[in-house]
Symmetry: C2
Subunit: 361 residues, 2 copies
């Protein structure tokens, strides 16, 4: 078996250790005589798995006790609707537009609330994170929505650069950088993330929500779209995506064993630095976004020639460096270096970039 | 490794063959160098998996070309909302109330349409399928909703006993008996089913919908809740629950290899007959529903003594006959004998029932 270095933007690489454990337990979970896929979600076996997943996540993210952790379905996309439907009060919301998904989240919200665009970097194809100050924020907004990492364009917002108002809940889509760097959960009203980048297989969405934001809402809202439905039932109102939650749990334990988010952040910064340093010194490859705003999860770069980009992607794949093609609407290359990408993978990529540059410039 | 006979009502048993293949491919799918869990949903590897799953399902269910097959999230519960939200036109719908889930589906629909209860068996705790005729159906209903198998109480409706109107789309929740007996898809407007009983792991919901019912709907409906969103994008509007779909695909192939739904129906009838025959001749055990309406998937029975029921469940578990406890609000025993339960499992259960009866009566 030869595993490749998979730079896919998501679903992406998972820790090999986790996959090995999943394979070993697939037909018989810890002597239960059954697969986790076959377990009743009301069984003590499964309840234990979900509880452990939640408590490990609470541990590694330092989630305060007054926050609920929900395991939902429908991806970040369904959250784009659930956020305004559940947080709507004054009927106004602030959005910071830093990429494709931020824009989609905002478009969906417009169906339910009046949206104020705090700032947008669309003028320069989202190649930077726009600056804004408190004067752009609405003091009567029901929430302020940001996207902490922009998967498509490769930018991110650090905790320390988030400007927000004390009385307006901060809502963050962290789909592509949850668990990769430290964010202070207590500063947020809601954090949500699809699992398929840093947590587990596609099909489960984590929602971390401050308890006072879990409210009775308009009864016309579909039952499955109310946070209260899931919060009141410990994410067991209906059958949850049990197997995906189990894998997430294994990944959370892997994070913990590797020193937690704090330790992974250091490794992630080192991995990203390796790539950005090479790009900055290269005559062939160029980065595509503002240096300060660079993501440590998604590293975008181009040669300037579509033909050379294609050649690079093809030859990289022949070496087991796969899924390095940029997003369909962007082009170029994108190396997604999530938590599970080992530093050896990044080194192999840099090595190949060096060789490619020598041969092609 | 000792596998148990798992009579869980869902998530339930999966074919051992499927689990073995999944385990073998878990770290490296067919030489791709990655797990199916790690694959981009836009990769040709994954697209092939999803296409194959769909085409095999079309094959074994004989799904006509004018039907779409969708792979969605949120379980049957989310369908309870999606059905009225998407099919609403005159604002009226007919519901046949044959169990807990039928009732829940109906309650959710009441938010969006005027509901006509065609018939209900709630008067006798859903222990039968109520008779009704065309006069109880509304000719101007947007659809008529039935539940073909009632997991909790253990009744089912055969195709030949479904009375419906030609011009009103028939909508069926088949969560607990899809692929277990033959239904003629062309008679239905929509068939939906959570995967976790006869198809695969929890977290994917199959929707089979006649193309003319996939329409532009009220723009206020969340994008993710419109069938059109998913139908127009081949269930790839956003990241689908890829790994669960992959397992479903393996199960569909297993069904096909075993002679299709037609062959499985015969085996299922034989399995159910073994159990019902024993119950009917037993002095200790009694069935709980009308004979004609008995499910071939969920077999409910009681001893008449709560204490003996408990003892039975406990001693059965010690023999590797597990999850045989009845639904929390019903009590007694329920043996769910889905497609993946081998006849040996049913024989082992009957053997144990015999022994238990001898010792305890």
């Amino acid at each position: 078996m030869a595993r490749v270095y998979n730079f896919s933007a998501g679903p992406g690489m998972l820790p090999e250790e986790v996959l090995k454990q999943a394979a070993a337990e697939l037909l018989d979970y810890k002597g239960s005589g059954m697969s986790v896929m076959e377990m009743s979600h009301r069984s003590s076996w499964y309840e234990e798995i979900q509880k452990k997943a939640e408590s490990t996540l609470r541990d590694i993210m330092h989630i305060p006790d007054n926050y609920k952790v929900l395991f939902l379905q429908g991806g970040a996309h369904l959250q784009f609707s659930m956020i305004p439907l559940n947080l709507k009060n004054n009927g106004k919301a602030d959005y910071l537009i830093t990429g494709n998904w931020a824009k989609k989240a905002c478009q969906e919200a417009k169906k339910y609330v009046d949206v104020n665009i705090v700032a947008s970097s669309e003028d320069k194809t989202f190649s930077y994170v726009p600056k804004y100050d408190e004067s752009s924020l609405s003091s009567d907004a029901d929430y302020f929505h940001i996207t902490t990492n922009n998967t498509v364009y490769g930018t991110r917002i650090r905790q320390k650069d988030i400007v927000c108002l004390d009385n307006v809940p901060l809502v963050a889509d962290m789909s592509s950088n949850i668990l990769s760097e430290v964010y202070d959960v207590s500063k947020f009203g809601v954090i949500y993330a699809g699992a398929q980048k840093n947590m587990g297989p596609a099909g489960v969405t984590i929602v971390i929500i401050r308890e006072d934001l879990v409210k009775e809402v308009d009864p016309q809202i579909p039952t499955m779209l109310k946070y209260k439905t899931h919060a009141d039932n410990g994410s067991l109102y209906n059958t949850p995506p049990c197997y995906s939650i189990y894998i997430c749990g294994l990944v959370f334990e892997w994070v913990k064993k590797n020193g937690g988010v704090e330790a992974l952040q250091k490794i992630n910064e080192e991995k990203a630095q390796l790539l950005y340093d090479f790009i900055d010194n290269s005559k062939l490859f160029k980065g595509t976004v503002e240096r300060y705003d660079r993501s440590i999860m998604n590293v975008n770069f181009v040669t300037g020639s579509e033909e050379l980009d294609k050649k690079f992607i093809k030859e990289a794949a022949e070496r087991g460096i796969v899924n390095i093609k940029g997003y369909r609407t962007v082009g170029g290359m994108r190396a997604s270096i999530y938590n599970a990408m080992p530093i050896e993978g990044v080194k192999a990529l840099v090595e190949f970039m060096k060789e490619f540059e020598l041969k092609n410039s």
